[in-house]
Amino acid sequence: MKRLVIILSILAVLAIVLPGLPALAQHTHLPHEKPDTAVRVLDKVGLLLSYVHINNLASKSQFQSARDALTEMSNANIPASIRHIIDQYNSLYQKLFTTLDNLESLLNEASVLLSRSQINEARQRLDNAGSNIRNANSLLKDTKAATDSLSGQLGFLDTSATNQLTQSYHRLVDSIKRLKDVIDKLTGLRESLTERYTQMTKLTPTELSMDASPLTAFVGENITVSGRLSDNSTPLTQKAILLSLEYKTMKNVNKINIPVTATANTTTATGFDGLYVANITVPYQYVDNMTLTAIYEPSGTDIKNYLSSKSQPLTVNTLFYHTYLKVNMPQGLYREQPFTLSGEIISGYDNISRNVSVYLDDNLLAEKTVSCLFNFEIIPSENATPRKSELTVAVAPDGRYSGASQSHNIAILVTPGHIETRIPSIVLLPGSIKISGRVYNEFGPIAEAPVSLKLKNSQTTVTTAPDGSFHGFIKLNILPTKAPSSNNQLDVSKSVTEPFFDLSPIGIHEIAVTTEQPESWGTAVGEKSRILTINPLSTGLIMAVLIALGLVIYRRKQTRMSRQKVVSPVEVAEPSAITPLHSPVSKLKLTAIKSRVLSAYQSGLSIIEKITGIVMAPHITLREFLKMTQLPSPGVTECFAELTAITESTLYSAREPPQDTVTRAEKLATTIKEELYSGNP
């Protein structure tokens, strides 16, 4: 029965506990996995399909995209054991796509040149295209062989290969076949262009001469250009001549300067004698020289009669005044902190006014007109992002004076703020916590910075003094109150809080001292401290409860002890031992009748102890003592046994013994006393 109850009880407890277990064993299925335990896998199918994707790009003549994709494969997660093979394979593809890209470009150029009747240039492109076609075919053959080799290495066609892997491999082979189609298509295009070229060789060639003066000029000056267009010494009249002034300059592409070729074109026409004269202006491009060329391209019905022609190029030396710039660049800038940028502009021997601009990345920080030396007082914007930036000082070109610029990579820094706080560690409620401290950064104390003092929901904001110091109070209540929880006697402060109170006898709370301004600090700075609060009200209540509990426990313990002492005749050895027996008895509120029985037993016991020399130890019960003693006569033994039984009954019975039992006990004690003293029964 007991077992059944225990089993049922355990089941009941489990029934209570089990519903709570999911609380500890959560089942969340959010889509991410632990990166540390993730398995490293080479996705062979994915690898093959990636090559299919690259080949498809190439098949659509997106050769540059295909090459970019191959370059991106350098980031691929490829095991080191096959990395070399993959690199070789990629290299082969790179060469093939580069060849096909060049081939297509050559054919496009040849087509354009033919449309401009420039057959000699077109011939050159077509010849190069032929060479590229041969290379492309050879590379494609190598690629096919490499694909077979890769298949052998990685087991794409093994019996253990999955169906998906085999299918992917076949898709790769098909995509390579499409590359062959691309080569065939480009080969066909070359053949048609070659045929067109052959037909154009039958047109009449033209001849174009050109002269220019002066051949050395400042930027902005005019040059007179003249010449003659003829067809086998017959002048060609009313034909458009393009005068092209070509120069090399730098162009900024994605913040990188790359050399580019630019042209400034002027159009004129031949007269009745085939002569042409034109004035062209040297553009404000600050380069050392430019190349002047006259070009005739037939248009309209002339396309069917004439070939184009170009004059011999002439070099025009350009003159201008170089501008040099010296700037003292800082290593770093602090957001919202002013800094001085100084420098010097050197423009030959002239100190002319120049326009100088300062940029942080692409944002204009300052601009002004200076003559030679300059100083800029600049404050980086509060929105400047803390990172590596480029500070650029640029002098704009002005007429014959070239421009100049100097750039320098600098770090945009935030001025990290620091807070020092002084907060007491123990506070007795009710009371106020005085919080003081200092806010500073590496430039010194920070004035007028708002400092937030927060304790649970109670918050106070104070403002720092000119020396960066701040003082604030947070009032701690013993009970909830609607009164304002804080004030600041020394500085401007405002409180937007709930009053703080804590009913816990002893509480540990965190005080957060933070400041979020100014923005140049980057992130908010703050410090947290812990305080110990003592609430006397709840402490008193708890203490009262504990004391009451202690008293009850103490009294219960005492009662238990007194009961034990009643049955423990340890003090019987002494004549005065009755008193200790009486003492707990009185605590148990023994009645007079019970006391008389005990006194009778005590009286008989003391005589027996004296006669026998056996003292009743504290741990000996009345019955055990009876068994231990060997009295001189059976009559005394019998009397003491009866007296012991009456005493036990009196002690442990809830009811009082009847009067005749008490009388009997006293009589038995007297009998024992008399018989032991007299020696007669």
């Binding site: 609380a23 889509p31 991410h32 990166p35 896998v41 994709a69 009913l503 992130t523």
Partner: protein, 298 residues
Amino acid sequence: MEIRRFLITITIILIAGLILGIWFFPINQDFRVENPFWNGIDDMSTKYHMQPLDSLADLPLSPDSATCITIPYLSYTPAELEQLNHFISSGGRLILADDYGHGNQVLEYLGLGVRFTGQTLLDPLVNYKNKYFPRIVNFQPDPLTSNTDNLVFNHGTSLTGVNAADTIALSSTFSFLDNNDNGIHEDNEPVGPLPVISRHNLGSGQVILVADPSLFINGMDKVEDNAEFMQNISATTNVLYVDQSHLKISELQRSKRWLRQVRGLFINPAGTVALVAVAIAAVSIPIWRKKKESNDSA
């Protein structure tokens, strides 16, 4: 009598043990700032002084240069959507990091054309360990991607309807959206480069979209340049909030909340008085019983 005492004792011990277990067992729920395990954001929260928000109502009214990261795993109420809208239009920056959640609800409310695709982005080649960890290697110059060469997603997704000018990061050419969840690229499945991080100006604020919130978890923090990305977010804001009110609530968290509510009851004046009264009553019962026994015996 003995059995009764045994059962009461064992029940009290078990309940107390369970309460203590729930109270002290750390939360292991995804994206929680209190979660110190691999799937929490405890590390980043501490490192970058993130301020967790239990309600979007706690967003500052003047959020100039403040950033709020929200992971929309629970849907938003109209009031919450308006709070987000106000936060952004007042100059705040919202980082909406989503993969399979309710991010599109926010985008729709804000009137942006961009959307989270909600399909798994896989990259069989350019990855970290396997295709479920696509490595993001294509970046547009942006303060958020400064000094960042590659990021690693963890079962992330991609964006759609993003203008090239708004795109900050793209997946590799070999990545694709696994629309049918078979782990293999099919011909009709979109291939990379796919936009995964974008920036959108809205009013005087900004919305940054990140197509994988797992970028922020403790386990991913030390992978490649993920920490750099978080550093850039932190460096470009004054205050960093993280919305915790749209994460799924686990049983453990629910139990913890319940215990906190119970504790809250007892630290109120009425609760404390009631607790003291119960304690006094519990202590007084034996005395009262004793007196009653004495009276009975008398």
